[in-house]
């Protein structure tokens, strides 16, 4: 017997033994969760940590010493001194039997199934199932059904775990799915032609479907699960900051999937957020630093050193007030470096614009989770660091004053799609740090290629002032760099200070830049992020 966890005896804790491993777990824990803590994953379908437990898949039955029959580990609560066996002959044989039942009507079409490679039926049968099923009966054929939204239903693959039905009922609280018929004729269905069209979180049922019964139309046949790389990131499509994994193949984003964070989004994310990733795959990138001759028109490509020294010297010699148009996708590190650049020059300001929607879209079953009005990830981060929100609900306008600014104008990330080439013509120096070319800024004095948020690491601050980390999942163009790194170099040229190219340093510099970040550290960010201390000076809207 091995000591797994030696938590002291306590009223709040219960001691039990799972497969010879002694553990101490909180009172009220289910055997399934306790086993997980003891390092044993009990196979299951109907149980999902974010939903109620109907105990109907019967796969998680385990042997409990003293119990007359096998117990469903997903609903049986641990008791003091309990001895649980998930690996006994009885339990193993029962699982093998249940798995065989699952395959009676399953089409075994793994070669053409999107779930293949991340399928619980495939995995469990592979590890514990019979080599050959004994059923000789013809299989039930249901075919494919369009559930509406992004969801396709392959009834033949369904294991009737009803996670999808329960999600719609309990979490989104729009009961648009139901089991119809009974016995082995039972099937998941929508109500007549209503479908899932009205749902705004239905993409989650594709995530929680343990098999390939519910698949995404958008992802259909695009990639095999085992070819995908998963990178932890933050959803860029509103200010909620849902934790996601970006799934990429061959440096192309294939889909966004929610990543669990019980303090922010639980297991979920909205359909709006998950469907907007295509822009990350867009080509036509700025590939190298460029400068434009002062008489206009002729662009010259430069190497980074020439470009940075060229611009740095100009800034140093001319000085002047710096007005910055940031993007709401700019990371805290980008904005922090901008603030320091302004300090190094003769002062200035930062503004940003963001598209908004008129109403929030809450997820009723998970308190606090919603799609926010602002449709960009770092609104709060920008505000906290002193940037001013300008423009209208479409994320345009509001640049009247800056377009007439006569000193230095820096545009970071915003493509200024509502502006003409005349923008910034009054400015002594117009600089564009961007990932994609901008019509309005093609005559900027300096153009620098920067990474999108998906190509670099950094942090966003969500609507609840929670600072969360994202990591780079894509390779940007060879010459592209994170904006904060470019800005740090410029500061170093101007002030003669040392420039760090480390994202952790860039984050840690924030504590010197802004009071709200004082005392925070990059190492505190994992795994759930942290909340900024409240700043009474800040007004929220």
């Amino acid at each position: 017997m091995t000591e797994h966890n030696s938590t002291p005896k306590d009223d709040q804790y219960v001691n039990l033994v799972v497969d010879d491993v002694s553990i101490s777990v909180e009172k009220g824990t289910t055997i399934l969760e306790a086993a997980k803590q003891a390092g044993t994953e009990v196979p299951h379908y109907c149980y999902h940590a974010g939903l109620s437990s109907p105990a109907q898949c019967r796969l998680c039955l385990v042997e409990v010493e003293g119990a007359p029959k096998l117990m469903p580990s997903c609903t049986t609560v641990v008791t003091e001194g309990q001895v649980v066996r998930t690996d006994s002959d009885v339990a193993t044989k029962m699982r093998q039997g249940v798995l065989e039942f699952y395959l009676v009507n399953h089409p075994l079409d793994c070669p053409i199934c999107d779930q293949s490679g991340e399928c619980d039926l495939q995995d469990f049968v592979f590890s514990e199932g019979r080599k050959h099923g004994r059923s000789r009966a013809a299989k039930r054929v249901l075919g494919r059904d369009d559930f509406g939204g992004d969801v396709l239903f392959y009834g033949d693959r369904c294991v009737m775990c009803t996670r999808c039905v329960r999600f719609m009922e309990e979490v989104e609280e729009k009961p648009l799915l139901s089991v119809v018929e009974r016995g082995n004729r039972s099937v998941i269905d929508t109500f007549f032609d209503q479908g899932l069209g009205d749902a705004e979180w239905a993409g989650n049922i594709v995530d929680i479907c343990p098999v390939g019964a519910l698949v995404s139309k958008d992802f259909l046949y695009k990639a095999r699960a085992w070819d995908l790389e998963h990178t932890p990131s933050i959803c860029p499509n509103c200010s909620m900051g849902c934790n996601i994994d970006i799934h990429t193949r061959d440096n192309v984003v294939q889909r966004f999937k929610p990543r669990e964070n019980k303090d922010v989004n639980g297991h979920w994310m909205c359909d709006y957020g998950r469907s907007r990733y295509e822009w990350l795959n867009e080509g036509k990138r700025i590939e190298e630093p460029l400068s434009t001759t002062s008489d206009g028109g002729l662009q010259t490509s430069l190497n980074w050193e020439e470009a940075l020294i060229g611009l740095g010297e100009k800034l140093k010699s001319s000085g002047g007030r710096l007005k910055v148009i940031a993007s709401p996708l700019s990371s805290n590190e980008d904005v922090g470096a901008t603030v320091r650049l302004i300090q190094a020059l003769g002062g200035g300001e930062i503004v940003f614009r963001s598209a908004t929607t008129s109403k929030e879209v809450p997820l009723p079953g998970f308190k606090g989770l919603k799609r926010t009005k602002y449709l960009a990830p770092n609104i709060e981060g920008l505000k906290v660091l002193g940037a001013k929100y300008v423009g209208d609900e479409k994320g345009s306008g509001g640049l009247q004053a800056i377009s007439q600014h006569t000193e230095i104008v820096l545009v970071m990330g915003d493509r200024l799609e509502d502006q003409t080439e005349k923008f910034g013509s009054e400015a002594e120096l117009l600089i564009y740090l961007g990932s994609h070319f901008s019509e309005a800024l093609q005559e900027a004095d300096f153009i620098f290629p920067i990474n999108t948020f998906a190509e670099t690491s950094g942090t966003f601050t969500n609507c609840d002032r929670r600072v969360q980390k994202f990591s780079g999942s894509l390779e940007g163009p060879c010459e592209a760099r994170p904006a904060w790194s470019v800005l740090n170099d410029l500061i170093s040229i101007i002030t003669g200070s040392e420039s760090s190219q480390n994202v952790a340093d860039a984050f840690n510099q924030l504590s010197g830049t802004s009071e709200v970040f004082a005392g925070t550290s990059y190492s505190d960010l994992m795994p759930q992020g942290f909340k900024l201390k409240h700043d009474p000076q800040m007004t929220r809207d």
Binding site: Q56, T75, G97, V98, V104, R134, M160, V179, G183, S186
Partner: protein
């Protein structure tokens, strides 16, 4: 008095008025001592009523045989929550037709039992969940409830006692599984008729999530008599462990099928040969299902010594269940009978639990293939293994109900299966 036939061995308590149209009416029922039990109960404390029922040793007549008084005593005291009494009248077990007769002939007997039960457990609302296909029974019951309300027997201040008890008759919509107590609760709440996982047990969280007791029609029908006459009176019949009388629904190959009320512990053989007039057309007995289609089949040898009490039938190798005795003569095709039962359960499985959803259909499929001469030698072992997997692995016992007849029939009548296998061997 049995219906349609009667027999001198019977002890008629609840079936006394079967076939008597007069007893259906409130006046007729009153003339026969109706609602005297209720009046007596109302003069006692609820605890005293429970005590009488406990002492009588009455066991639930729905099939499981759980002591009724004990079940009532599980209801929380001073919970501050509304309590419910449910009457399970969703009689659908193949071979069972006792509750239908009780409702048809003696609706007031049931209503009286319901009111006493509700009084004992502190419920102000009773639901009688009546099988939808029982059109006549539903009508008769509906009328009786109406009359009882008019006479002040239901509603506020029953018989001037200050107690309020409402009663609603709810007709089911044709699913066998809604006769399972928690499936019934879901159905009553307007949800899919799917059994719930226990715990929580109904006494803690039943219908609408509130403390609930659920009793069978026959159980509640006998309550007025026990309360009126006392527990010792009831214990004069039956055995120590199975006191009282019970309705036996005899069907199949006997001369006089029907309902007979007999003391528990009555010999099965005597029931068939004496009470029911023997096997039809003087044929020989082959097998008997003693407690409804979901219990193990008894072979002729097992029938010989079987006594019809909860413990007696268990000793013989089966279960008393709801005492629905299905008699099969020597010409009966056992495999066909088992196939019919299995396909019934496959059709009625709610589909929640995998072993039941897939297993009942698969077992039926194998049996049908066998019947069609397409069975394979290994099918018999497969059947035994599958039904093993279906026993004790699900939320309710529907899948166990397929396993029992399949396994017992293979045990006793393996030859009949074997004959089908030797009959060609099939192809696939």
């Amino acid at each position: 008095m049995g219906y349609p036939y009667s027999h001198p061995s019977e002890v008629s308590i609840i079936s006394k008025h079967f076939g008597d149209p007069d007893a259906r009416t409130l006046d007729g029922w009153m003339k026969n001592g109706g609602y005297d039990g209720l009046k007596k109960a109302l003069s006692m404390s609820p605890e005293e009523v429970i005590e009488i029922v406990k002492n009588s040793g009455l066991r639930g007549r729905g099939g499981a045989g759980f002591p009724t008084g004990l079940k009532w005593s599980f209801m929380p005291k001073d919970s501050g929550k509304p309590h419910y009494l449910l009457c399970n009248a969703d009689e659908s077990e193949p071979g069972t037709f006792k509750d239908r007769e009780l409702i048809r002939w003696t609706p007031h007997q049931l209503i009286e039992g319901c009111i006493i039960g509700a009084y004992a457990i502190g419920a102000e609302q009773v639901y009688i969940y009546c099988r939808g296909e029982f059109f006549e029974a539903n009508q008769v019951l509906g009328k009786a409830v109406e009359d009882a309300y008019e006479a002040g027997i239901l509603g506020e201040n029953i018989f001037g006692s200050g107690s309020t008890i409402e009663l609603t008759v709810h007709a089911g919509a044709g699913a066998y599984i809604c006769g399972e107590e928690t499936g019934l609760m879901n159905s009553l709440e307007g949800k899919r008729g799917e059994p719930r996982i226990k715990p929580p047990f109904p006494a803690a969280a039943g219908v609408f999530g509130l403390p609930t007791t659920i009793n069978n029609v026959e159980t509640l029908s006998v309550i007025p008599h026990i309360v009126r006459e006392g527990s010792d009176w009831y214990r004069q019949w039956g055995t120590e462990k199975s006191p009282g009388t019970k309705l036996f629904c005899v069907s199949g190959h006997v001369e006089r099928p029907g309902n007979y009320e007999l003391p528990l512990g009555f010999p099965l053989r005597k029931l068939i040969e004496d009470v029911c007039g023997g096997i039809k057309d003087k044929k020989n007995l082959k097998a008997v299902i003693p407690g409804g289609s979901s219990v193990p089949i008894l072979s002729k040898e097992q029938v010989e010594s079987c006594l019809l009490s909860y413990e007696g039938v268990q000793e013989a190798g089966s279960m008393l269940g709801c005492a629905s005795v299905i008699v099969m003569d020597e010409n009966t095709d056992i495999v066909h009978q088992v196939t019919r039962m299995a396909s019934f359960y496959a059709h009625e499985s709610c589909g929640q639990c995998t072993p039941c959803r897939e297993g009942t259909a698969w077992v039926t499929n194998i049996l049908k293939k066998m019947e069609a001469g397409q069975g394979k030698e290994e099918d018999l072992e497969t059947l035994i293994e599958l039904t093993d997997q279906m026993t004790g692995t699900t939320i309710c016992v529907l899948s166990d109900s397929v396993a029992a007849p399949v396994q017992s029939s293979i045990e006793h009548f393996r030859g009949e299966y074997q004959k089908l296998l030797n009959n060609g061997g099939g192809y696939d």
